[in-house]
Symmetry: C2
Subunit: 455 residues, 2 copies
Amino acid sequence: MIDPTAYIRDIFTKPLGAQVTAHGWVKTRRDSKGIHFIQLNDGSTFQDLQVVIESAIIPESALSQATNGACVRVTGELIASPGSGQSVELKASELQVYGPADPATYPLQKKGHTMEFLREIAHLRVRSNTFGAVFRVRNALSFAIHKFFQDRGFLYVHTPLITASDAEGAGAMFRVTTLPPGPANPAEDFFGRNTYLAVSGQLEAEIFALAFTNVYTFGPTFRAENSNTPRHLAEFWMVEPEMAFCDLDGNRKLAEEFLKSIIGYVLDHCRPDLEFFNKRIDNTVLATLEHVAASAFEHVTYTEAVALLEKSGRAWEFPAHWGADLQSEHERYLTEEVFKKPVIVTDYPAEIKAFYMRLNDDGKTVRAMDVLAPRIGEIIGGSQREERYDVLSEKIRAKGLPEESYKWYLDLRKYGTAPHAGFGLGLERMMMYLTGMKNIRDVIPFPRTPGSAEF
Amino acid sequence: MIDPTAYIRDIFTKPLGAQVTAHGWVKTRRDSKGIHFIQLNDGSTFQDLQVVIESAIIPESALSQATNGACVRVTGELIASPGSGQSVELKASELQVYGPADPATYPLQKKGHTMEFLREIAHLRVRSNTFGAVFRVRNALSFAIHKFFQDRGFLYVHTPLITASDAEGAGAMFRVTTLPPGPANPAEDFFGRNTYLAVSGQLEAEIFALAFTNVYTFGPTFRAENSNTPRHLAEFWMVEPEMAFCDLDGNRKLAEEFLKSIIGYVLDHCRPDLEFFNKRIDNTVLATLEHVAASAFEHVTYTEAVALLEKSGRAWEFPAHWGADLQSEHERYLTEEVFKKPVIVTDYPAEIKAFYMRLNDDGKTVRAMDVLAPRIGEIIGGSQREERYDVLSEKIRAKGLPEESYKWYLDLRKYGTAPHAGFGLGLERMMMYLTGMKNIRDVIPFPRTPGSAEF
């Protein structure tokens, strides 16, 4: 079906009496006195198309195969529906079954499956209400991201995933090799040295920002942490804009505008899906999103944030004091109780942040920012970058990073450096925020986690 | 600079007399009797902004640093330019140097660098005319791809890059591991088994097509072939649409519409860049693109194509006969001499094509298609997929593929199967076609090839 007007979504917009043809998968079927009701879905919209079939009109050979999970083509007339739940239905005059689904073995029966079981049948869960909605939202979110940056003249950059450096020393990496297991000489490997899967495209994005002004990356990223939690994936997607001639204030403003814009796009384009999440998964989803889209974000420095936490009178699990990183409980307190809206915390202690963040004049804080949101905590992390050659090269030395690996990164400060800044948003964190889904494995098509790389 | 109206591209649209501020990198500078001319570029457009500076107005301390490669901010008045090559220029009243570039060591001096040398300074080559144009075209092409599919209701799917199966058995793969080099037990590895980098997202895209009707992937792909040629990369980007309820004819029509649409988008959005390629890199680029965008593609079967080659009277390097794959010389003959436009060849011998392509009734050809274009040969490969359980499972057995790995793929044929089809386009091949660039290493930001994984 490459006719873009033949989706079920579009059938709903046609006038009563129209002759239409629908393709899709039978979601449920019930039979009542010679009349058969099929809920048909083609993935184009949350709402199923109700198909009404009279036994007398459709041959039993076809009808008997049109069970839950079967793929069918139905032609007929669009009529007003007397039933509740839909305003129109399709009165079938023809039914063709492309592919039946044996009711005795089809794994995706009506209702009642756990999320764990659905993960095992990730090739079929996509046909369920929940995962249909998840992946429509993921599609809309992804395009909203591109549209936001393209509308503002940002250049989309494809940074490499195979890398010979371990970037910011940010944590466990996967090694990429063509040598068979066994004693190995890196010089004999495909790239003539050890290579890894990238944990970020930021440093390469900086190269492009210092030539094209405003750029962004959007692609897969890897982390080989042995964390089997509902919030960690070994392979996930990340968006990283990087802007020349931009300081931390500009960065902060762009992050706020970006979040509001992508939330607004998904609210506009996936309303029925979000209503489903709000009803079935988390009844705060819609209110939170609408609130965030409409709020002016708050801004406090890390030092101010710590002061608020210290005078809160709370018994924190992790004591709040200057120099310690903010924990989830602190982030939620700030966004949900103190300010009741998103909060951007800036100027963290240099000690707890990456080497490339710009040092403030106080010599102890850096121009970092975290965007915290109610219900989820940190959703964006970013900074103004250190653009001064001497300060950066001293930082690299002090952190004991291999200077030779950063030669090109330092070159950017040696030749035509400029103030610049950027941030990163994890797509799956954003997906959890949009949908209310509780496990990150359920917002990505085929999750990669310790011990699991199915499909 | 997060003000999207402050790009140099936009400055060109402002009225004479406007006070403007430009940021960018000095591309060239010349001095003549107390007047200094700077060509300034911020990556937003091919055309440099000419800045005119009078020695009397700008302090020597700033002026002396505004050399080739430096990053500057200039404020002044937009005036008519008496010089040739530009209609307006910026008469500077203020000049700030963000970052100088020592003329003695700055590697990207005026002209005359080889492509090989520029690859070694890939962090700076992006500021040159050629690579500025390359990456603006790559950005426009990438967004055109998203826009084409989103406009038609296709769902963007993120298929996994780490995979436990070797897909179609399509060739050398990179292994992904967290075990140190040395004797290794796959059961102890991160995923509890051997894993690889994906060579295609097609099989997983089929899962989504059989739930959402029309989908596409767009992301990085890997091939560990030890091919050190101007046409091979170990890491490259690929687009793979997959459509349910679509046969080979529909596939063919979509491929044609797709190519014309993305070429048209780049012609519309990157005209100055394409004119540069046409002038400096390959003077057939513009004519070829405009011709392809306007031609009705030709369609012949493989059997017809072989007959044309056999009766051509040519002395082929690779003899053309039924059963042999078409070689580059054959493809160019068909597109450049016989038809003088793009040709879609379909229905290849089953023997030379992948197991998942749908078998024709003749039992010896499959519903494959290759789109061949003048000047470059094959640019798209695709097929209608085998949707029949019995035929597919027999094919998997006959090819000696591990049946257990394909259980979920066969399940798609067992439960609600549908006719479906799709194709793949290599982004870098398309980039070479659009730009005329001769080496694939020069159309991707940081090329990965045997022995090389720089930056």
